[in-house]
């Protein structure tokens, strides 16, 4: 086992970047735009697709700040930073519940890094310049194995459908898993390419969107002939990034619930006085801290000791998934009636972290994957 840095590799650069991300979110207040887009839509899940919540100017500013370039290798025009750095930013995105394809784009970045081919490098250059990308790797049954895709590839043409593609309304390009015979290969393609047709799902999480991509004889560039191997190598980074987003969201749920318990008065006292309220809030903190420590540890393991990265990342996502479920549950319960309403931000965070809980597999799935490393 390689020697890991005690501080997770989290130094001044990472703190500066995280701090600027935090200030950016405070400035942008992404939930205000989201609120505007869902105001008065009593039936938001049954009307037309919502697109108003996505602030494209914020994306351009994030590109300007170098966030899409940060994990792109220097030879592809990026900054070549590691996963701990990306995690520091992803945590702030989650804390703000920001509707943005950034986490998906960072995940795609690490998958392309693992692919390592010339074509992968050229797509990484586009990401560095601001092209967003998301993973299109699942089939209809949502099973999590890498060969579960319903897309086929033949002579460089893609056919079939990718399911459960995240951020589909916000995205510029796709990283597609497709079966070429019995082999999984990875392809990159622009969402506007000929033969690509998008259908949007109606999902619970208001900060994200999701959908299906239909491929009809689509010409796509192969970026990895060994798609299963590439996805396997990238999996620790994919899991750690989404766990970091969840860690930030759970911290928000904790702080919001603690603040509410100080001001909401019942039986002549702030409800936080009562131990039936106080103790579960403390339990939210304890679980959140476990997740946060495991996330930074998993990121550092991927960066410095890749041989043990899978175990660390599965533990981090296992923890994040269970923490998310508990924190979402207690936050809504302890806010009482108001937390159950459309108007309150708790519902927005609640839905986002629970959506994330299932992405790349919940706690039970993660523990079963981790068990292979014992």
């Amino acid at each position: 086992m390689a020697q890991q840095p005690k501080d997770f590799g989290y130094g001044e650069e990472q703190e500066m970047l995280k701090d600027s991300a935090r200030r950016f979110m405070e400035d942008k207040q992404p939930l205000l735009a989201l609120r505007e887009s869902i105001k008065g839509t009593e039936d938001p899940y049954f009307g037309d697709e919502r697109t108003g919540s996505y602030d494209k100017t914020a994306w351009d500013e994030m590109v300007g700040l170098g966030w899409t370039a940060l994990a792109v290798p220097e030879e592809a025009g990026g900054v070549g930073m590691n996963l701990v750095t990306a995690v520091a930013v992803a945590e702030e995105v989650g804390r703000a519940s920001m509707p943005t394809p950034l986490t998906s784009t960072l995940q795609s970045t690490f998958a392309l890094r693992e692919a390592g081919t010339e074509s992968a490098m050229s797509w990484l250059s586009k990401i560095a310049e601001g092209t967003s990308m998301t993973l299109a790797v699942y089939g209809k049954d949502g099973s999590l194995e890498s060969d579960s895709t319903d897309v086929t590839a033949s002579n460089g043409k893609l056919n079939g459908t990718s399911w459960y593609v995240q951020d589909l309304q916000k995205i510029d390009s796709l990283l597609v898993a497709a079966m070429d015979g019995a082999t999984v290969k990875l392809y990159c393609v622009d969402v506007n390419a000929d033969g690509v047709n998008l259908e949007f799902d109606r999902i619970v999480d208001l900060t994200r969107d999701q959908g299906r991509v239909n491929f009809n004889d689509v010409s796509a560039e192969c970026v990895s002939e060994d798609g299963a191997g590439t996805l396997h190598k990238a999996m620790p980074a994919l899991l750690t990034l989404i766990s970091a987003d969840m860690s930030g969201g759970c911290e928000w749920l904790l702080q919001a619930t603690a603040e509410y318990a100080k001001v909401r008065t019942q039986f002549d006292r702030p409800i936080g006085f009562f131990q039936a309220v106080k103790h579960p809030i403390v339990n939210m903190m304890i679980l959140g801290d476990q997740t946060r420590s495991l996330v930074y540890a998993a990121a550092c393991t991927y960066d410095t000791d890749p041989g043990t990265a899978h175990k660390a990342a599965h533990l981090a996502k296992s923890s994040a998934s269970d923490t998310a479920e508990f924190c979402a549950n207690r936050a809504t319960q302890l806010h009482g009636g108001i937390g159950f309403t459309w108007e309150h931000d708790v519902q927005i965070y609640h839905k986002r972290v629970m959506h994330s809980q299932q992405l790349f597999g919940d706690g039970v799935w993660q523990r079963e994957q981790a068990a292979a490393y014992f």
């Binding site: 131990q275 403390v282 014992f374």
Partner: protein, 401 residues
């Protein structure tokens, strides 16, 4: 951001680990109990005091304490020594109350004379200390304690009783909290050093659910305590006690590795090994996905505790100075209890075979250990009190009392 290790620190680390490897004592004839607070036999006491004295001489205890108080006068070396002691799997230090509570309290609140008199024999293990806080009527609600101290010239006369007094049967000194003003709950308590050899002190062992002893009830009848054995001002006892408890809860810096019992990693690894050999229905428990899920979850929590400790070194990621340290005692004790509970469940019909039974798995360590985990979840402020403290001090929730 953790500062990188200096050459001096690295050399000291290497010195500690080499010394420990060379001087690790042979095991006792009758195995030591699982923790220092359960030691009752004279043989064990002699063996452990001898071991602590050697470690002190070697510089592993009181490493950062100034030389005029009997320490070794280094700066920021104690944590290195303590880490190496924990890692070396050597016997625990018997004088854990002296090292973990008395010394840190005296260093902050003691007079020059008190520091010079009491500290050196604490470090060497020559004087064993016990703690006189809890009373039959004052446990979690410690501030309601009733043992009284009445001024009589240059002395105080103490009457009352203390309970759950670990090591009271070996101790020479007690950290005593006594009420000096009945009309002021919080400012009516004073902190004393009280001799366990004084007239009027009776120590009576209490037997635990494990069948072992190790702690006591201590009766104080007209016990005379000289005024120069008072720590800090009259009426300041509660404030001083809170700083002592901070050390007990693992938040203080301490002067030596105190809780040198088995690491949680050793426990979860033993559990997984057990799962790989215990069988039900023709297959090992590890081959059963329900058990795997349970065990990997416990492993995850154990790993999280280690990584929380690592994150302490990166203060930008701590979310406040006390947030992680104040969780240590609570999460560690609850995890330890669940690990043991799980082991008993895995052992099934074998789980009740106890320490004296020849067929008991690993000499009955799981059943014994399970019962003893309640020491962790109850003493030093029960888990319920810990959650109050965390809610109030870290999250700013309204005080329950």
């Amino acid at each position: 951001m953790a500062s990188p290790e200096t050459t001096e620190q690295r050399e000291f680390r290497e010195y500690c680990s080499a010394w420990l490897a060379e001087h690790k004592p042979p095991p006792t004839k009758i195995p030591l109990p699982q923790a220092a607070y359960e030691v009752t036999s004279e043989d064990h006491r002699t063996y452990l005091v001898d071991w602590q004295a050697k470690c002190f001489e070697a510089g592993l205890i009181a490493t950062d304490v100034p030389k005029e108080y009997g320490g070794h006068g280094h700066d920021k070396f104690q944590q290195i020594a303590s880490t190496e002691v924990r890692r070396a799997n050597v016997p625990y230090f018997i004088n854990w109350i002296g090292l973990g509570m008395a010394a840190p309290t005296l260093l902050v609140h003691g007079t020059e004379e008190q520091k010079k008199t009491f500290l050196p024999p604490i470090f060497s293990g020559e004087d064993i200390w016990c703690q006189g806080f809890s009373e039959p009527g004052a446990g979690s609600d410690l501030v309601s304690l009733q043992t009284s101290a009445v001024k009589d010239g240059d002395n105080w006369v103490v009457n009352g009783s203390k309970v759950w007094t670990s090591l009271g049967h070996f101790a020479k000194w007690m950290l005593l909290l006594a009420r000096t003003d009945k009309n002021d709950k919080y400012n009516g308590i004073t902190y004393f050093i009280s001799s366990m050899e004084a007239d009027g002190v009776t120590v009576q062992p209490i037997h635990k659910m494990t069948g072992e002893s190790g702690f006591n009830e201590v009766f104080l009848e007209e016990v005379v305590v000289p005024d120069h054995y008072r720590i800090d001002e009259v009426g300041k006892g509660w404030q001083v006690a809170m700083s002592t408890l901070t050390n007990e809860r693992g938040a203080g810096t301490g002067v030596g590795a105190i809780a040198n019992s088995e690491s949680p990693f050793a426990a979860i690894e033993a559990l997984i090994a057990l799962a790989k050999r215990e069988k039900r229905n023709g297959r090992t428990l590890w081959e059963d996905p329900i058990w795997r899920d349970k065990l990997v979850k416990l492993y995850e929590r154990t790993e999280a505790a280690t990584q929380n400790f690592r994150r302490l070194g990166v203060k930008e990621l701590n979310g406040g100075a006390m947030r992680i340290p104040l969780q240590g005692k609570l999460t560690g004790s609850e995890l330890g209890q669940e690990l043991h509970q799980t082991a008993l469940s895995m052992l099934g019909m074998k789980s009740s075979l106890y320490i004296s039974d020849p067929n008991a798995e690993e000499d009955g360590r799981w059943a014994l250990g399970y019962m003893n985990t309640y020491t962790g979840t109850i003493s030093g402020g029960s888990s319920e009190i810990q959650r109050n403290i965390l809610g109030e001090r870290v999250l700013g929730l309204p005080k329950t009392k």
